[in-house]
């Protein structure tokens, strides 16, 4: 009888603890409760519960802690300062899979906020146990561990190196090969976080044989997995030519292009990022992409989406066109220029406009042929207005100015140049007049047209400092015409004519 009563007390206590932990875990899911919980001192109450004798309570306490730490970095710091991490790390190796999952969740939640917090986790020796968890039988545990490792590795190169040194990469590559989609996804994301920092880290990922498996997964129907896979490949390819070639050698090429047609926006974005990262290295790689029809696919992709998703595609076109004139020509015949000019005029964001302006400049700077292709689409006035607009960001102004300059210096398509005579600022006018002075001496039709369209008059009205480059250009234009015409169109000619009328003495018989 008395024993029964005594036991009942314990039972009640256990029930109360369980309930408390469960409620806290529940409340922690809502952001509006977090502050109240924090003020109520939930941290100090949860900490002893992590050491509870009942496994369920431990797990739930860990879960609650994880949710709290997930919320903001103050709470995460509180977890670190409360010396909870060593306990978690210790039990991560010991306990059952539910607890492992919860503990890995806490580590992840703490590590995601800042490099310092992630470093604190590393200092606790969590990496080794997390890596051991990657070998666990349960996919859930693997997933949680891979997630935590990825969040630690994403901050900087040192932390990534620590993760690599703990031997996580081969196990992550094994995780990619598991049948569970979620695990694949998380492992791929962790690999992408590791490989993004430096060529050496990317090389370790490549050495673990990740590329072949990743390349196979490009065709996976799960779009979130595709996102991560494409992101890993682009993070690997971005570092050096060798790595990019390794990625290309995995025969990703016609396959990746299907991702550009995907429903999911981020799949599109990551696919075009991957193509961009490969294309930017050498003309040969760009040529490979062009030959595979990648440029057309990217252009279509740019046409089919909006905003930031376009950006990598636009930059990819710029990179391809920058390598050589043939590649730029390939971009032009793939109908890239109209698409870019649409981007230039449609996009609301300055940085995308800047990218489009840059890409157009890269396309148009090679030969008169290229410049003409750009000028025909009527992009030059748009670029000029972007350059002149006060609302444009500084970067956009600089980029559009550069683009205008590089296109104008090659442009011999006079109808596109003429409007510039009227509304261009002097620093651009110089190039416009220069182009006229180069073309007019050789083209009689254009000379005639230049006069009839009023260009010559406009040129006479330009006030150039004597001896300047602009004045030289104007002189060489004037030299193409008979003197009377030049004088006829120069300002103030009517006055001089009238003066002559005044001073003329008629012969009287």
């Amino acid at each position: 009888m008395s024993q029964r009563q005594v036991l009942q007390v314990f039972e009640q206590y256990q029930k109360a603890r369980t309930q408390f932990v469960q409620m806290v875990a529940e409340l922690a899911t809502r952001p509006q409760n977090i502050e109240t919980l924090q003020n109520a001192g939930v941290m100090s109450l949860l900490r002893p519960l992590l050491l509870d004798v009942v496994p369920t309570i431990q797990q739930t306490a860990a879960l609650a802690l994880g949710r709290l730490a997930n919320y903001n970095d103050d709470l995460a710091e509180a977890v670190v300062k409360g010396d909870i991490l060593p306990q978690l790390v210790y039990s991560l190796a010991e306990q059952n899979r539910f607890y492992k999952k919860a503990a890995a969740f806490v580590l992840r939640a703490v590590g995601k906020h800042s490099p310092q917090l992630a470093q604190a986790i590393v200092d606790c020796g969590a990496l080794d146990t997390l890596v051991i968890c990657l070998e666990d039988f349960d996919p859930g545990v693997k997933e949680a561990a891979a997630w935590a490792l990825g969040y630690i590795a994403r901050h900087n190169a040192e932390l990534s190196q620590a993760v690599v040194d703990a031997g996580a990469v081969p196990l992550l590559v094994l995780c990619i090969q598991e049948p569970e989609i979620a695990l694949k996804r998380i492992a791929a994301s962790a690999l992408s976080d590791i490989s993004k920092h430096s060529p050496e880290l990317a090389q370790t990922v490549v050495d673990a044989g990740a590329i072949a498996h990743l390349a196979q997964m490009i065709l996976n129907p799960d779009s979130k997995l595709k996102r991560q896979v494409l992101s890993v490949l682009s993070q690997i390819a971005k570092h050096s030519v060798d790595l990019a070639e390794m990625v290309v050698e995995a025969e990703i090429f016609p396959v990746v292009l299907t991702c550009l047609k995907d429903k999911d926006e981020y799949v599109k974005k990551n696919a075009s990022t991957l193509i961009r990262e490969i294309a930017k290295h050498t003309p040969e790689l760009s040529q490979l992409i062009v030959n595979a029809g990648g440029v057309a696919a990217v252009i279509d992709c740019i046409g089919s989406c909006k905003g930031n998703i376009r950006l990598p595609g636009i930059m990819m076109l710029g990179y391809v066109a920058a390598h050589s004139e043939n590649l730029a020509m390939a971009v032009i015949i793939s109908k890239g220029v109209p698409q870019l000019s649409v981007c230039l005029s449609e996009e609301p964001e300055d940085h995308i406009k800047a990218a489009a302006a840059w890409a157009l400049g890269q396309i148009g700077r090679h030969t008169p042929e290229h410049a003409r292709a750009v000028a025909v689409t009527n992009t030059l006035p748009v670029l000029l207005s972007l350059y002149m607009s006060t609302e444009s960001s500084e970067d956009l102004q600089v980029k559009s100015k550069k683009a205008i300059k590089s296109i104008l210096q090659k442009c011999t398509y006079l109808p596109a140049l003429e409007p510039f005579l009227y509304d261009a600022p002097p620093n651009i006018l110089k190039h416009v007049v220069g182009q006229f002075s180069k073309v007019l001496p050789h083209d009689s039709k254009a000379r005639r047209l230049f006069v009839t369209s009023g260009g010559l008059k406009k040129v006479q009205e330009i006030k150039a400092e004597p001896g300047s480059l602009l004045q030289e250009y104007i002189n060489s234009i004037n030299n193409c015409y008979p003197e009377e015409i030049v004088r006829y169109y120069s300002p103030g000619y009517s006055d001089t004519l009238l003066q002559r009328v005044d001073s003329y003495q008629p012969l009287t018989h």
Binding site: V54, T258, D300, I333
Partner: protein
């Protein structure tokens, strides 16, 4: 003398004659002189002219020859120059031809080939078209698949709904809600309900406990191992002719369940498993894992009672520590001690299940 006389005689005459003749001559002298002068002048004139003519002719001939010679010389020179120039022109033209070829070849090979570029660009645009088409097709296919999947899902859902609301089906007597008597045709839902199979109440299956002991593996439950004799052997099969065993007996033999020997029938660690199971049960029933001890310092007060062996004053028996293999664990091959298991009698376990050489059951 006569001659002289004659001569003398005649001298007078001669003198006269002489005089006469001289006077006659003198009369005509002037005339004759003039005439002679005239004749001479004419003659000389002729002579000189002839000479001069001769000279002229000769000079002309000389000049002709000389001029022809010098003209020929000049002509030779001119021809030489002209042929030289012609040759040079030809050579230049040929050189231009060679240079043209060579330059064209070199530029095309090393610098820039317009036709190659044109072809390349054409190929690129063709590839682009192909890729665009392929991607379009791919996207379309995806869309179709998705649409199909959507339709199927929808259909399934509706089917489930129909099965769930199958009780709304009209009967012969009472029209259901989808089969209003005021309407001409019944609602399509009614037809669906007719087709649907009513949803039966499914009792939730009791989860079978997963057994992991050896016996469960050996019970031939899975389809991949031995088939169980669930399907009864055919009854009306005739006895085959020949020295064959009775068919039921053969089938029984064929489909008999696996009967493991006693050696493997029970797991070695059965005791451990049972204990584990017991402990698990206990843990489930217990409120607290730790043994409840009324006093926290109970174990401190407990007095240590040594074993009789070790406390004997005769010293411990060397049997356990020196004679047996427990003594030196380093020499063990594996790091575990032996498990003591009793061997089974083969003969007993196989009794009645083997054929003798004569075909009789032992």
């Amino acid at each position: 003398m006569a001659t002289l006389a004659r001569l003398q005689a005649r001298s007078k005459f001669v003198a006269q004659q002489y005089y006469f003749r001289n006077s006659v001559v003198d009369i005509f002298r002037k005339k004759e002189y003039d005439a002679a002068v005239k004749i001479q002048s004419w003659f000389r004139g002729c002579q000189v002219r002839a000479h001069i003519r001769n000279l002229h002719r000769v000079a002309t001939i000389i000049q002709k020859w000389w001029r022809s010679y010098s003209g020929r010389q000049e002509y030779q020179l001119i021809v030489k120059f002209a042929s030289c120039a012609m040759k040079m022109n030809l050579y230049n033209a040929m050189a231009v031809r060679i240079q043209r070829r060579w330059r064209g070849y070199r530029i095309r090979k090393y610098c820039f080939n317009y036709f190659y570029l044109k072809e390349y660009l054409k190929a690129v645009s063709e590839t682009n078209d192909a890729i665009r088409e392929a991607l379009e097709e791919f996207a379309e296919m995806k869309e179709r698949e998705e649409k199909k999947a959507d339709l199927e899902r929808e259909e399934k859902k509706r089917d489930y709904q129909a099965r769930k609301t199958h009780y709304l089906l009209s009967t012969k007597q009472i029209p259901g809600i989808y089969n209003s008597p005021f309407r001409k045709d019944p609602d399509p839902w009614e037809l669906r309900l007719q087709k649907a199979k009513p949803l039966t109440y499914q009792r939730s299956k009791v989860k079978q406990k997963r057994c992991i002991s050896l016996s469960s593996w050996l019970a031939c439950t899975s389809a991949r191992s031995f088939p169980r004799s669930e399907i009864l052997p055919p009854i009306d099969r005739k006895q085959c002719q020949g020295p064959f065993r009775d068919i039921t007996e053969v089938l029984e033999q064929r489909y008999k369940p696996l009967e493991p020997t006693l050696w493997v029938a029970e797991p070695i660690s059965e005791l451990k498993v049972a204990r584990e199971e017991f402990r698990r049960q206990e843990w489930m029933r217990d409120v607290n894992d730790n043994m409840f001890l009324p006093f926290s310092s109970y174990h401190k007060n407990k007095k240590y009672t040594p074993l009789m062996h070790s406390s004997s004053k005769y010293g411990p028996n060397s049997y356990g520590s020196q004679h047996f293999r427990d003594e030196n664990p380093k020499k063990w091959i594996c790091d575990k001690d032996f498990q003591t298991v009793l061997p089974s009698f083969d003969l007993f376990s196989k009794y009645g299940k083997l054929y003798s050489k004569a075909g009789q059951i032992i």
